[in-house]
């Protein structure tokens, strides 16, 4: 509202001071710089993945197993079929174990345990678990299931190690989402005469589903990229294997062993495998988001 003929002193009262402007400019600049600095490695990673990885992609790259023959001409080194399928199998089993368990724990924490002593203890251990380095999970499975039983590596042992890794991520993210569901929603379902378990399965979980998806995807993405827990649990192998009771290849382990090779073609295969892994996770994200959006509208 401008008053015609307002006196100069009155306008001066509302004028932005030069110092204020300067501070604003500096603060904006600082935030922008931080954003750019954070983006640089992200962009570089994608750039190098595409530049180095795309070159090794071909039909046979996806459809053949690695040959293990790395000292002769590049056409004989084979592809990464066993690694792709192994990663899918291991991560699928790890998800099948950790997602239902993790969501179950989160439901218990929010709906039953609440602020009780047991719930606080569980929360504490989940937090500790979140900070445990991934190799420790591999070591744990190695000692218990391989040294302890005197047996060898197997895909399911790798999956168990990964599920331990995923569990705290799933629990914490699901718990946060469940806490966001308004209590009034639970109350109105309870007031309709619904038993508590029905309230959880029919009201709370469907409402929380789109939100929980993010945490679950994060856990899957993290597990799919882990090398350390798989190295001495699932082992490394060349052949495609649908029996998780035996050695099972995986993308991270394949990348790990390829990237240390003196043969250029094999190192390039590592780049191709890395690009494959990132693409797989991206696709999973897209599909999950599409599905959840559709289910929310229905």
């Amino acid at each position: 509202m401008s008053v015609p003929g307002a006196s100069a002193p009155q306008l001066a009262r509302f004028a932005v001071s030069p110092a204020r402007r300067r501070t604003d400019r500096i603060a904006r600049g600082a935030i922008l710089t931080a954003t750019v600095v954070a983006l640089i490695p992200l962009v570089l990673i994608v750039y190098y993945l595409l530049r180095k990885g795309l070159g090794s992609w071909s039909g046979s790259f996806f459809s053949t197993n690695p040959t293990g023959n790395t000292f002769f001409k590049s056409s004989s080194i084979g592809g990464i079929k066993s690694a792709i399928l192994g990663t899918v199998e291991i991560v699928a089993l790890a998800s099948a174990i950790s997602i239902p368990t993790g969501i179950g724990v989160a439901v218990w924490l929010v709906e039953y345990g609440r602020d009780g002593r047991l719930a606080s203890t569980v929360r504490f251990f989940v937090d500790v678990l979140t900070g445990v380095p991934s190799i420790v999970f591999g070591l744990f499975i190695y000692i218990v299931l391989i040294v302890g039983t005197g047996s060898t590596y197997a895909g399911y042992k790798g999956a168990l190690a990964l599920s331990l890794l995923m569990l705290p991520v799933v629990i914490r993210s699901a718990e946060v989402i469940l806490l966001l569901i308004p209590g009034a929603l639970r109350e109105s379902a309870l007031a309709l005469g619904a038993p508590r378990w029905r309230v959880i399965f029919s009201i709370v979980l469907p409402t929380a589903l789109p939100g929980m998806l993010t945490g679950v995807l994060l856990a899957i993405a993290r597990a799919a990229g882990e090398t350390a827990p798989l190295l001495f649990t699932a082992g490394a192998t060349l052949k495609t294997n649908f029996n998780l009771g035996q050695f099972t290849n995986s993308l991270p382990v394949q990348i790990y062993s390829d990237v240390t090779s003196p043969t250029t073609a094999v190192v390039n295969r590592a780049w191709g495998a890395a690009l494959t892994l990132v693409t797989m996770i991206l696709l999973l994200n897209l599909v999950a988001r599409l599905v959840s959006r559709r289910s929310r509208l229905a």
Binding site: R114, E187, S188, L190, G193, A194, P195, R198
Partner: protein, 310 residues
């Protein structure tokens, strides 16, 4: 409309329904011949639309005390809500109105650390008796909350059907056709059918605030309750939507007993047959609404209704 009116359930059937089936030592059903629900039964049948209405039941509180941890929010209340009447509960904020009402359908105990003492008699049955199934109590005594809260993941139809589905003992207890009929009659009962009949599959959260609240009323009507508790049902609504709800309350009392907590004294005066005034966890005075607002017997009631405090 059915010309000769829907059949009435006998009053002595009700408490049996409330008891858990598998409780061996269930107490004998209360004495027959109870007529708690009968005074308005005739008019109820006459006014009921195409609903299989059963008359409301009376609710009596006896020395009801409610606690949050050690804090006593309701301090020994005796009060009767007569069948098929609207009873308004007024009183300043924090006086225990909502807590008292939440004790009636045992929602109070859902809050960690909360408990209730004394008894709440639905007709003749103590809903706090150990053999009583809390789920059955909540089916018989419905509740409408302050903020409209339709289930966000469900369509309009599913919202109304949710009460039946969530509390049914087995899958397919209600046939598809029966479910449709129930949903339609509940929506008609809540005065919402005309507005939503063309878009039953759309999300319930897409309705306006007033429509959402009527959807919530339809949701609680669908399970055929005998009593409906309304905890400030209009406080989040605009005057037009409030008027609709108030008209609805007038119609609904032919089928259910209504207890309404309200901050709005004009609203109590408009809708309630009887009004109870609460203060600091205690029942100060209860009587016909007209009397409470024009010639209350307690000076504190007079001060409150004339706006001297609260």
């Amino acid at each position: 409309m059915t010309p000769d009116g829907p059949p009435l359930r006998t009053t002595e059937m009700e408490p049996e329904e409330l008891l858990k089936r598998d409780v061996a030592a269930s107490p004998a059903p209360p004495a027959t011949g109870s007529t708690a629900a009968s005074p308005d039964a005739d008019s109820a049948v006459g006014k009921a639309q195409d609903l299989d209405a059963t008359p409301g039941l009376s609710v009596r509180l006896e020395q009801l005390r409610a606690f949050y941890g050690d804090a006593e929010a309701v301090k020994g209340v005796d009060l009767e809500f007569r069948a098929n009447e609207v009873t308004a509960i007024i009183g300043p904020s924090g006086c225990g109105k909502s807590t008292m009402v939440r004790c009636i359908n045992r929602m109070h105990e859902e809050i960690p650390g909360a408990r209730a003492e004394g008894s709440v008699l639905l007709d003749e049955l103590d809903v706090y008796a150990s053999s009583v199934d809390v789920v059955a109590v909540r089916r018989a005594i419905g509740m409408v909350f302050q903020k409209p809260n339709p289930f966000p993941t469900m369509s309009i139809f599913d919202n109304v059907a949710s009460g039946l589905r969530l509390s049914s003992r087995r899958r397919g207890e209600h046939s598809k056709a029966a479910m449709r009929a129930k949903v339609e009659s509940a929506l008609r009962g809540a005065g919402l059918w005309e507005e939503v009949s063309e878009r039953l599959t759309e999300p319930g959260a897409g309705l306006s605030g007033g429509q959402q609240q009527r959807l919530c009323i339809a949701r609680s009507l669908a399970v055929d309750p005998e009593v409906i508790l309304m905890d400030e049902p209009c406080s989040a609504l605009d005057p037009t939507a409030t008027l609709k709800i108030e008209e609805l309350i007038e119609e609904l009392k032919t089928r259910v007993t209504i207890v309404i907590v309200t901050h709005n004294m004009q609203q109590a005066a408009r809708v309630a047959d009887r009004t109870a005034f609460m203060l600091d966890g205690q029942m100060v005075e209860v009587g016909p609404t007209q009397e409470i607002f024009t010639k209350p017997s307690d000076p504190r009631t007079e001060e409150y209704v004339t706006g001297k405090f609260g």
